[in-house]
Symmetry: C2
Subunit: 162 residues, 2 copies
């Protein structure tokens, strides 16, 4: 075979990068709607609410809106909206921070803990069905590759000038 | 090493599936916000609008709202909203379908074609920066693995009862 010219190689590289990104989007839209649908049907909470409950479940002492927002990688406004709706559902409560008695943190209520446990079972079950065709090695290899994408060496991280 | 009991194997499998899904979400939130930010800054369009323009660019004869919705895997209502906003921006026009003269299709305007070309350059550039640390083999292997997730064998596809 003829060797690639530098221009061809550059174009191929760009195409491969786009294909990888489209692959991520395809997997996302293969799994996410099914997760959302089953969680809503069986436990009456969306994936967005589930994500908040999952974080609060990991931190029984509670999380501030700022910490929740950073962990969920969504805006403060969105997090406040979700937390307020979860409070109306009786799944989350706001309580005074033990570290800083002037600030408030969100915590799971007992009903929230129970609902999260039910939702986590549904979440696990949906992933199990969507990924049932992959052998263990493929699961592990793919996870490792995805990690290597996010763990970019420091010297290559694009400038985040915001 | 001691052999895993079936219960352990099952739990490990569930954990591996969750890790893979969290890996997908991490890559998504590593790339998507950067794409959105740069597209908005440099070409004044969001990723959602970009996705519509990209589909219309592939089909110069135009796409109906239903076709666009199916291709973008978003609801008809969302697509109509996006197309209306793109019409206000002068990037998209609605025209009569050549197949069915009672229905309308969305097409790119010349300004839309130009804006899409600019945005596609930005899109490519952002992906190039975010993925610059991956060698070609990793790019190709990861893409192939992502494809194998979505291309589930027919006999394993979970029932989609909606």
């Amino acid at each position: 075979m003829a060797e690639d010219t530098p221009a061809q190689t550059h174009t191929d590289r760009r195409k491969n990068e786009t294909r990888l990104w489209l692959g991520i989007l395809d997997v996302h839209s293969f799994i996410y709607p099914e997760l959302n649908k089953r969680l809503k049907e069986l436990t009456a909470i969306s994936v967005s609410k589930f994500d908040v409950l999952a974080q609060l479940n990991r931190y029984p002492e509670g999380l501030s809106m700022g910490d929740l927002s950073a962990r969920l990688k969504v805006s403060n406004g969105n997090v406040s909206g979700l937390v307020n709706r979860l409070r109306k559902d009786g799944l989350v409560d706001k309580t005074m921070s033990t570290d800083d008695r002037r600030s408030f943190v969100a915590v799971l209520t007992p009903a929230g803990q129970q609902r999260f446990a039910e939702a986590a079972r549904v979440h696990t079950e949906v992933l199990g069905k969507c990924l049932s065709h992959l052998d263990t090695q493929t699961l592990e290899d793919t996870t490792a590759m995805l990690k290597s994408i996010v763990n970019m060496p420091d010297n290559k991280v694009p400038s985040q000038d915001e």
